[in-house]
Amino acid sequence: APLASQTCQQPVQLPDILKDLNGQDSRIRIFSDNVDLQENQSAEFSGKVQILHRDTLLQAPKARYDTRAQTLRADGGIEYFNPALSVSSQFFEADISQNRVTLGDARYQFVENAGRGEASAMVASNEALVLRQAVFTTCPEQDDSWGLHAEEISIAADSGWGEARNAVFKIKDIPIFYIPYLTFPVNEQRKSGLLVPKVGSSQSTGIDIELPYYLNLAENYDLTLTPRFMSNRGAQLKSQLRYLTAEHSGLLQLEYMDSDDEKTNDFGARYLTHLTNRSDFSDKWRGYIDFTDVSDSAYLTELGSDYTNQSDTQLYREASLSYYGEQVHSHLKMQGFEILGNYNQAYKAIPQLSVASAAPIALGNWLEASWFSQYAHFRNDQAFYNAADRLHIEPALRIPIITSAIEFTAETSLLYTYYQQDSLSSLTEEQAEITRTLPKVRLHAKINMEREYDWFGEPALQTFEPQIQYLYIPYRDQSNIGLYDTTRLQDDYYGLFRQNRFSGLDRINEANQITLGGTTRFYDNTENELFRFSLGQIFFLKDPEITANTITQDLPSTESMLASEMIWNWYRRWYVSSALQYDIEQNKLIKSSASLDYRGSENTLFQLNHRYSRAVSGVEIQQLGVIGAFPIDKNWQLIASYYRDVTNHRMIDANIGLQYESCCWAVRFVARRQVQADFDTAVDNVNQFAELDSGFSVQFVFKGFGDKAGFGVADMLSNGIFSYRRPYLLTN
């Protein structure tokens, strides 16, 4: 078990009488050595008094109950328990009818989680628990590493929220900072609360300090304000609003920086806006928005953001309205991009309306029909065809026959597409208006075969699934059709069985071919897939016409593909996994990735990974990575990762992290040196390398402030560009 629960958390010993308490029982039961009762006025109890009411228990040397006012008072050494809390105090008063309990100079300890502390006065009612002149910490008994001293702390019962007013945060009695008002989660329900300051540095920002404040605005709204100070650049304010209502859920992130000292002063403000929203207007209508905008291309690499990877090349924007009817589904979508760096501007689809059959329509017990239609308007001022309208209609008939052994599908469809294209330069008749009609016939069969084999003496399963597909699509000259949402799909084993080797609708490749393929899988005795091997080939009955402008010439049009994927729990905690794609016809390795993993205890791991791709946008990629993490002792943990670009013989990402974790707090030091994406150089310009940026960061976490996450090994490794992917038994 992780450190925290081994040594830190001494379980709260609860008297066993608590077990038979029942929250609904409104009677007050009192056990004592003797009782003096004056009928419906008062009752004095003495001698090891135990008072049970609903689900609470009070133990005191003596107590006095005023039947008329329905108040109970006790003093001397008092122990009070309710399901969430155990308290020892000197003075106790309960107002039974209001169900309110007050305790004087109390020492409390939460039962479920690690919070404890003292308070001069403590008032527990069914709405909230309020502590005055209080101290709150999650450190175990004698350990006062840190404490939140506040004039008032109130913990709302059901919302799992704590609020502190006039609080001073102390580390070993040294006041560190004063917080007029703060909220913190008492359990992990919500975001981790008092987001503790992050201190770090990097060449691009200099010293980089973030002080997040978390405000719980309402039941389903919360706001995090994070002022950030960078010694090289100046001050920035980041804000994140999250909302979750019955109909709408989403997040709005706004980041604003008035001026950046590293930039010329006419550069102006730098900002980021990011909105994701989903609205279910009714059970049939749904709206969705995903929008990101930045003030300048270098914003992400220089200032970083939680919403995009620092080396992303474009910002995605989409707004869509979907209708989920009984017979018909339709999606109205507006899609666009902001491109970072000097690339050609992308087409926008404003709008794109697709309407399709909700589910296959049965015609008799063998035949089923379905239809898909789409209208789209594309716009791109920098492209030859700067605007185009496209209407596509595709009715299909299908005969699916599914038996245990054989899955057979016969399918025929008609693809009708009509284009109206505009351009700044003059267009010929054939360019301005085009209609393309194509029939398509597809026959596909898959046979499921199995056999038992012996896996170290245990029965295990091997499957063999041969597939055969015949595809017929006649040739059509489509050279006049612009490329709006179409590009050549990457050829891999899955591609062999696809019906179209282009994304989008603007190119439909000719086909008169048979594809043969097969996959065999080995399962171990507990049904984990250990090894999968697939082999496939396309046989052309008629060689396809050479289309004039294939988009990316360098992508080999492979007709025969061998693909194998393997993961093997080779020896106790060691894993070997590899994936390979090989083009048999051109006898070339297309892509390979391999990783050797050792998975020790919770925080011990080692991984050696290698990746090779023959051509990514025409460039060879070969990369080597080493990751290691091991505990030095009970509290200290070391992690390290190193990635090397083998093709260009240079290091691209290196991290060293040292973490000290004690029961209630943890600190992490990470030094890293990473390549900075440089958008101005073209991808295939091999001699212009992006520079490396080194940085150092210190992160404090005060555990138990609902901040359990964030300190596992995987999170530590997520500082690098390539977050860690644990060896996962083969997955599909």
Partner: protein, 141 residues
């Protein structure tokens, strides 16, 4: 070599099942289709004497796999993560979780086309995920 055609329909031991998921979940639609193809009756509400399948979560995440010399992302890894729970009649619900991976090359020059490719890959990942869940169900029967 010992291979034989698979004997029974993978889900023959489940005459009926209740599938619960997010509204309009495409993965759920695919599973429903597969259940119908395997003539498994779809129940409209949970019944304790019938198996139930709850799709708890299906998310698509992206991880950087490799960089170009200029530091830009060359290859991403699409990680389709599925969490679901199967409860057989009068048995404890069993939680399952798996991840499916696909490489994906981004190309800033054709952003819209690449977005279409991403959607196609997601459809294929969902097909694989549906097969995977059906295979898991078949082994439970």
């Amino acid at each position: 070599c010992g291979f034989h055609l698979r004997g029974n329909l993978p889900l023959s031991q489940f005459p009926a099942i209740y599938l619960q998921s997010d509204a309009h979940s495409e993965l759920a639609a695919l599973l429903n289709q597969r259940f119908q193809q395997n003539d498994v009756e779809l129940l409209s509400s949970y019944q304790s004497n019938r198996p139930s399948l709850v799709l708890q979560q299906d998310t698509l995440e992206r991880r950087t796999l490799s960089l170009f010399a200029n530091g830009q992302v060359a290859e991403y890894e699409l990680i389709y993560k599925v969490e679901y729970q199967i409860q057989l009649p009068d048995q404890e619900p069993q939680k399952y979780q798996f991840e499916l991976f696909r490489d994906y090359q981004d190309d800033p020059n054709q952003a819209l086309a690449k977005a279409q490719e991403l959607e196609l890959l997601l459809k294929e990942l969902r097909q694989q995920a549906a097969n995977r869940i059906i295979r898991q169900l078949a082994r439970l029967g």
